[in-house]
């Protein structure tokens, strides 16, 4: 049911862990729903120098977290904000329909960390960004559902 790419990222997730001196941390999802993603970033001069994640969740949740970190690592904030769940799905050679929400969470987790960064810098985050504290299992944003 999972692509080889998903299984590979599940078996060998990239960028797992914490960043001690992170200046951007975002958490999305909740334990009640069965998935939580926490992203740590080290952002310097507008570039995501380092990114790490911790995830409580199913195989797809771990694989999408891993892939999302790969897709934004070394990118500028502006580039990272363009990340879509669809890009995560494509990079993983697809996800089963019931797991699409994991890719949505991964996108949200990246964005929640960036919102945190803006807040820590005393800046106004770009309009319409999810800060991660929407307390619902059926995530209510307008994302690409395939």
């Amino acid at each position: 049911m999972y692509s080889e790419k998903v299984m590979e990222h599940f078996a060998n997730p990239r960028n797992v862990g914490e960043i001690e001196d992170a200046n951007a941390v975002g958490t999305v999802g909740n334990a009640k729903c069965g998935d939580i993603m926490k992203m740590y970033m080290k952002i310097e001069d507008g570039v995501i120098k380092d990114v790490k994640f911790k995830t409580f969740g199913c195989g797809a949740a771990i694989a999408t977290s891993s892939m999302a970190t790969e897709l934004v690592k070394g990118k500028t904030i502006e580039e990272a904000l363009e990340l879509t769940n669809k890009a995560v799905i494509e990079a993983l050679d697809g996800l089963p329909p019931a797991k699409i929400h994991c890719s949505v969470l991964a996108e949200d987790a990246i964005k929640a960390a960036i919102v945190d960064y803006y807040k820590r810098q005393g800046l106004e985050p770009p309009a319409g960004l999810c800060s991660g504290d929407c307390d619902a299992c059926a995530h209510g944003h307008d994302h690409v559902m395939e």
Binding site: A11, C33, G34, K38, K54, A61, I62, C137
Partner: protein, 388 residues
């Protein structure tokens, strides 16, 4: 591969397959073709199978009906009895932890005017005969309580519940799909009026089941058509299936004692080792009154599907009641019914053994499991700070 998912389904035994094969190719006749030799042979194979099943349950041959599986048996028992007897009342009692074949059937009947009480269970997943007694009303038609739970292995006090139903004059159905072939069953001594069984749970084929219906009990038909199964269940009989089910059941019953001893030793080793060696875990279901082949454990701070996938990569097949494996947003209704919060229920693992498993497999599993749990916890944001 080490297969520990025998509550989901089992491997067909060689002896069972051997018993079935001639029915596909040599004795392939239609049991309704009364006057031909192939028809007669087919009829004999079917009636032999029926007799074997009847003996295993202490029932009579004419009380055994072959169906398309456990789900059909549950549907037929509950819908068939409720529809036929609605003049007696419209209240049905069942439990919150039944298989969906029972729960969704009851929900269907609710849409058609029946009233259903879903009894809560205790923290080990059992209902008591006293609970059933207290729930019976003058308009109660039917009580349906599962013999043993498929997720957490809890065995209910079926004989006591049967006695209460008999005393109150209410029909009693039990979904014994996980119990048949695993624990001794006597439909007479236990006052069971209807009992569902399924071939593929005890090394028989899939798509064949049994409904025991006590003689004299009146049910509407579910499958309408020809006059097969004494006019009560239409459709050309699945004779290879019936022969396979009967063979598998007779082996299961003959070997029950030694198999129970072996399974119980393996089960208890898994439970004891995990409880001793892995922190932040809980056993679901009771220590006593538990199916000999069932282990159900929740691991805190991790999610069941990722545990199941990790074990699968090491060659161990288990299952989980997490939302991610159930295909819905909620974890298993059974784990919620025993009072677990969602986040703990998401971290469940079920190991279900069969007589074909070995202690070597158990030991290999117990060596692989703790590092996998540790790795997933180290990846989990919920575990942050727990051990610091």
């Amino acid at each position: 591969m080490v297969y520990f998912d025998n509550a989901a389904t089992t491997r067909v035994k060689e002896e069972v397959l051997e018993a079935m094969l001639p029915v596909f190719t040599d004795n392939f006749g239609n049991a309704s073709s009364t006057y031909t030799t192939p028809g007669q042979r087919a009829r004999k194979a079917l009636s032999d199978a029926r007799r074997t099943v009847a003996a295993a349950l202490n029932a009579e041959e004419r009380e055994i009906f072959f169906t398309g599986g456990g789900s059909e048996s549950d549907n037929w028992a509950i819908k068939g009895y409720a529809l036929k007897n609605k003049s007696k009342g419209n209240h049905i009692i069942t439990t919150a932890v039944e298989h969906h074949a029972v729960l969704h059937t009851c929900e269907f009947l609710e849409k058609h005017g029946f009233e259903v009480t879903y009894l809560p269970v205790d923290e080990e997943g059992a209902v008591s005969a006293e609970q059933v007694r207290a729930a019976i009303r003058p308009d109660t038609l039917l009580v349906s309580v599962m013999f043993a739970n498929n997720e957490i292995g809890t065995i209910n006090p079926i004989a006591e519940i049967g006695a209460v139903c008999r005393e109150k004059g209410v029909a009693f159905h039990t979904d014994a799909v996980q119990a048949v072939g695993a624990v001794p069953i006597d439909v007479k001594a236990m006052n069971i009026d209807m009992l569902s069984a399924s071939g593929h749970k005890f090394h028989g084929p899939k798509g064949i089941g049994v409904l025991y219906i006590k003689k004299g009990l009146r049910l509407d038909n579910l499958i309408h058509g020809g006059a097969q199964e004494n006019g009560r269940r239409a459709g050309t009989e699945n004779i290879p299936g019936a022969v396979g089910l009967a063979k598998a059941l007779s082996i299961a019953v003959e070997t029950m004692e030694e198999k129970t001893a072996k399974l119980t030793a393996m089960r208890d080793k898994i439970i004891d080792t995990i409880l001793a060696e892995v922190p932040y875990v809980r056993l679901n279901g009771p220590r006593e009154n538990r199916l000999p082949n069932n282990v159900s454990i929740c691991f805190r701070y991790i999610e069941g599907e990722s545990l199941l996938l990790s074990l699968d990569m090491k060659g161990f097949v288990v299952s989980s009641g997490s939302a991610c494996t159930s295909g819905s947003l909620d974890p298993s209704h059974v784990l919620l019914a025993i009072g677990l919060p969602h986040e703990i229920a998401h971290g469940s693992m079920r190991v279900s053994l069969s007589g074909e498993n070995t202690m070597e497999e158990v030991d290999a599993f117990l060596a692989e499991l703790p590092p996998i749990v540790r790795r997933l916890r180290e990846m989990s944001p919920l575990f942050e700070g727990v051990e610091k």
